[in-house]
């Protein structure tokens, strides 16, 4: 192929380029996939005071919330590996999640009323996470207290691991678990985010 053919191909590609319609076509695909039951995971990015949060939902419910420091591309790849690769950016399924998070960050919501899909947590970690909503809004509990709540008082370290790998941060309130001496302890979204959430809840 000579140079003139390259120019011809380039001009041809340009003359039939449809980049401007891709957004509409992608939205149409997301709606059709949802309708046909093949949208296994829908996600969107929700902006808030702790940075952009990735929220992902299966047909059963919210399956993942992820901070930017967790690397959203890596989070999507993990969802593809562990849940299903049939993942699309499809904001509509996350409308209620976005609304409740907005209300929470505005201080007007204390509890989340969302269907949750717990499939990314298993075993004792899952037991720990299921007990976290028992710590009320504005309160904190120590890792040792949560270990007792979960039925295994000696498993303090395991409680730390469960919190550090919580697939549903903010919504499942691992930020309310702190050290026995009252200091904050770590947080999967970063210490600044934990401080922000605890301050938000203390003020409301």
């Amino acid at each position: 192929m000579n140079t003139n053919d390259n120019v011809l191909i380039r001009d041809l590609a340009r003359s039939i380029d449809g980049t401007d319609t891709m957004t509409a076509l992608r939205a149409r695909l997301a709606a059709a996939a949802d309708r046909d039951g093949v949208l296994d995971v829908a996600y969107r990015i929700i902006d808030g005071p702790v940075g952009p949060l990735l929220a992902a939902a299966t047909e059963r419910g919210l399956v993942r919330v992820a901070y930017a420091v967790e690397d959203h591309d890596a989070v999507l790849q993990t969802l593809a590996d562990k849940v299903s690769p049939r993942i699309l950016h499809a904001p509509a399924r996350l409308d209620a999640v976005a609304r409740e998070l907005d209300q929470y960050f505005a201080g007007t919501r204390r509890d989340f009323d969302l269907p949750l899909d717990w499939q990314l947590s298993a075993g004792f970690r899952s037991t720990v996470l299921h007990h976290l909503p028992e710590i009320s809004y504005g309160q904190t509990a120590s890792y040792a207290t949560v270990a007792k709540l979960a039925g295994n008082p000696k498993a303090v370290r395991a409680v730390g691991t469960a919190c550090a790998t919580n697939p549903l941060p903010v919504v499942v309130p691992c930020h309310r678990v702190v050290r026995s001496d009252g200091t904050m302890g770590g947080y999967l979204g970063g210490v600044e985010a934990k401080r922000f959430l605890l301050t938000l809840e203390a003020a409301a």
Binding site: V7, I16, M22, L29, A80, D81
Partner: protein, 166 residues
Amino acid sequence: MNVKQPFEMVVSDHGPTVLRVCRAVLGSVDADDAWSDTFLAAMKAYPDLPAGANIEAWLVTIAHRKAIDITRARSRQAIPTDMVPETPVSPPVERDDDLADALDRLPNKQKQAVAYHYLAGLPYADVADILGGSTDAARRAAADGIAALRRTYRGSEPLTARPGKE
């Protein structure tokens, strides 16, 4: 483990190319439907796609079948004729359209071979698999198509911007 990208990345990486292929083969009016049918079918089949498969070739193969379905459905609605209409039925999109029109007037095989090889970048062996027939036949169809486009196309002499524009 069968490592597979999220389908969203497949759409980002290959969506624009597949749309150009659909537009080349069907024209811009039917291309949107073909693109949508292609990616919905691909998403359904995606979990069963073998790891390491050539995704672009897979998508173009699906697009080829969907384009045939749409052409058949359209010809059932229209009066059957072997003649290609002199003027396009739908108004051409508002851009520099000499080339798109010339492409539209090519025989189907040539149009498809040009789209799959030159626009989608598939090797002739893959183009032959899609079209049926030999690799040489696919190569000839693409070459004949490009030659025909070159005869119609006047605007490609300068490699740089055309004088008088912008």
